[in-house]
């Protein structure tokens, strides 16, 4: 407890995870899998690590719960030097979700979800109650699924259980390594949506690994993009990355669809609308709808403008212009 400290930027209570010059070189490898890296992750923040295969995302993530021991630097979690506390104890307070899920096949869904609480010595009733709550939370009917075995669930359902299991002891921190990676695109979309809603409620500090830039843009509060040499190319909000890629690598990584993606990110409520109801045949929309959704509606209705409830009206041109403007980052954050 005496090890409280204030890393670089944030104030003491803001920062949940602090990586300080953390690096990793696997024995026998000539290059560092993770180059000295410093990131402060705020309480309740959703940070996505993204980059090509082999750039060290998994390694970085696994150093936080010490499944991989760092070769250099320090990692602080919740004001404690993670490298100095008991690893098992540390892990019980960090949720961990992996792509292969890794449910224990010989235990029921209920037992799987209740495992960490059991390790922490909770009573039977409390565990049972918690399992019910969590299965509800991830959208699986507790009565139906509690006593099933992992093999009896689909991949998407298993992944929900994986998330529930990671949340079981209500850890402040969640580490997720491509959790939706092995799931078909449609289910993945659903899971991402649900997970965003869930996160809005539970406000965990999340470090999330993916190699899918769209997933990163969709989920992250901030995104750390690594290049293939394990260099941190950019650490910024999704909008900033789309509008101000730091270099050619980032530009090529976010790809040509960038402008369109930006449309999918911006909410019409964030655009400067003309107050008042000037135009009669505008399509009525909510301020939290995305620009791309609104554009689609407007064009489908054969109109050329939208009326944003409580804000005012926007023409198609307004919307397109807004997305083309380069320095718009302030708008979204």
């Amino acid at each position: 407890m005496s090890e409280q400290s204030t890393p670089g930027t944030g104030t003491r209570s803001d920062v949940m995870i602090s990586l300080r010059d953390v690096s990793k070189r696997y024995s026998g490898a000539d290059a560092e899998a993770v180059r000295p890296l410093s990131i402060d992750i705020e309480r309740g923040e959703f940070l996505v690590l993204v980059g090509p295969s082999g750039c060290g995302k998994t390694t970085t993530l696994r150093m936080i719960n010490r499944l991989v021991e760092p070769s250099g630097g320090e990692i602080w979690v919740d004001g404690k030097n993670a490298t100095r506390v008991d690893a098992d104890e540390l892990r019980r307070h960090i949720g961990y979700v992996i792509q292969q899920v890794g449910l224990l096949p010989h235990m029921t869904i209920g037992e799987n979800v209740g495992l960490v609480p059991k390790l922490l010595g909770w009573g039977k009733d409390r565990i049972r109650q918690r399992v019910t709550e969590l299965l509800d939370l991830v959208g699986l009917d507790p009565d139906t699924y509690r006593s099933r075995y992992p093999k009896q669930l689909s991949g998407g359902q298993q992944q929900r259980v994986g998330v529930a299991r990671a949340l079981a002891a209500d850890p402040p921190v969640m580490l997720m390594d491509e959790p939706f990676g092995a799931i078909d695109p449609i289910t993945r979309g659903h899971l991402q949506d649900e997970f965003l809603k869930l996160q809005a409620r539970i406000r965990k500090t999340i470090v999330f690994v993916t190699h899918d830039i769209d997933e990163a843009l969709r989920l992250g509060d901030r995104i750390a993009i690594f290049d293939e040499n394990a260099r941190l190319a950019q650490l910024a909000t999704p909008l900033e990355i789309l509008t101000n890629p730091a270099d050619d690598f980032v530009r090529s990584f976010i790809g040509d669809g960038a402008a369109l993606r930006r449309l999918a990110l911006l909410r019409v409520g964030d655009l400067p609308a003309v107050p008042g109801v000037g135009i009669r045949d505008g399509v009525e929309v909510e301020p939290d709808e995305t620009v791309s959704a609104v554009l689609e509606k407007v064009l489908a209705a054969g109109s050329d403008s939208a009326v944003v409830r409580g804000r005012g009206s926007l023409t198609v041109q307004d919307m397109l212009l807004a997305t083309a403007v380069r320095d718009e980052s302030a708008v979204a954050t």
């Binding site: 719960n65 499944l67 690893a87 098992d88 104890e89 540390l90 892990r91 019980r92 960090i94 961990y96 992996i98 292969q100 899920v101 890794g102 449910l103 224990l104 096949p105 010989h106 235990m107 029921t108 495992l115 960490v116 390790l119 075995y149 992992p150 093999k151 009896q152 994986g162 299991r165 990671a166 580490l175």
Partner: protein
């Protein structure tokens, strides 16, 4: 005298030897199981030692049983001790091999998840790896048992207990009235023991395999 007449006339002695046979086999397999699990778990961080022990126990299996039984006589004399000891030695390899393989091949993602949720190596072994490895370990025990049931017959050559005695007695009365019946009763009884144990292990497997593995 027909074979069946012979068997019913001598059912008492056959039954007695059958029980003896069963006892010796189960004793040896029990020892071998304990040793194999101990070695497999004890050498988890010593891969070279583990490989050497596995290779050694495999090599021992190529030693003719008659020679191994004989080799033990100067130390342990004739009878039960050399029989049980030799059978134990033979039973180790199938069990050890299956245990090692099973523990090593437990799904990495499951282990990873277990470690990630804060299980130490002891817990991982007890809660995750042994239960998952159990069906394969049990199969190794089954295989060892069937094998040892047959080898135990040779124990009679060193005055060991069990059904082998019927075979050797039949042989010693070669040309005599019931020589063939006697030897045949021994062979048949041994096969029966093997089949019974096979079924028993299948049942044990059904009962002890964690449900989630065969849903």
């Amino acid at each position: 005298m027909s074979f069946f007449d012979y068997v019913s006339a001598n059912s008492e002695i056959i039954g007695f030897l059958l029980l003896q046979h069963l006892q010796v086999v189960l004793l040896a397999v029990g020892f071998a199981t304990a040793i194999s699990l101990g070695v497999a778990i004890g050498t988890e961080r010593l891969p070279r030692v583990r490989a050497a022990l596995l290779a050694t126990s495999g090599t021992i299996l190529t030693i003719p049983s008659f020679a191994l039984f004989g080799l033990l006589i100067p130390v342990f004399g004739l009878g039960v001790a050399p029989t049980v000891l030799a059978l134990t030695v033979y039973a180790i390899f199938p069990i050890l091999r299956n245990t090692v393989t099973a523990l090593e091949t437990v799904d990495g993602a499951v282990i990873d998840a277990a470690t990630g949720m804060g299980m130490g190596s002891g817990r991982r072994l007890r809660i995750v790896r042994l239960p998952l490895a159990w069906p394969v370990i049990l199969n190794g025990i089954r295989v060892a048992t069937i094998m040892v049931v047959a080898i135990a017959a040779i124990g009679a050559a060193v005055r060991g207990p069990g059904l082998g005695e019927l075979i050797f007695r039949g042989l010693s009365r070669i040309g005599g009235a019931n020589a063939l019946n006697e030897a045949l009763s021994g062979v048949v009884a041994i096969v029966v023991v093997a089949l019974l144990l096979d079924v028993l292990f299948l049942l044990i497997g059904k009962l002890t395999t964690p449900r989630g593995l065969h849903v």
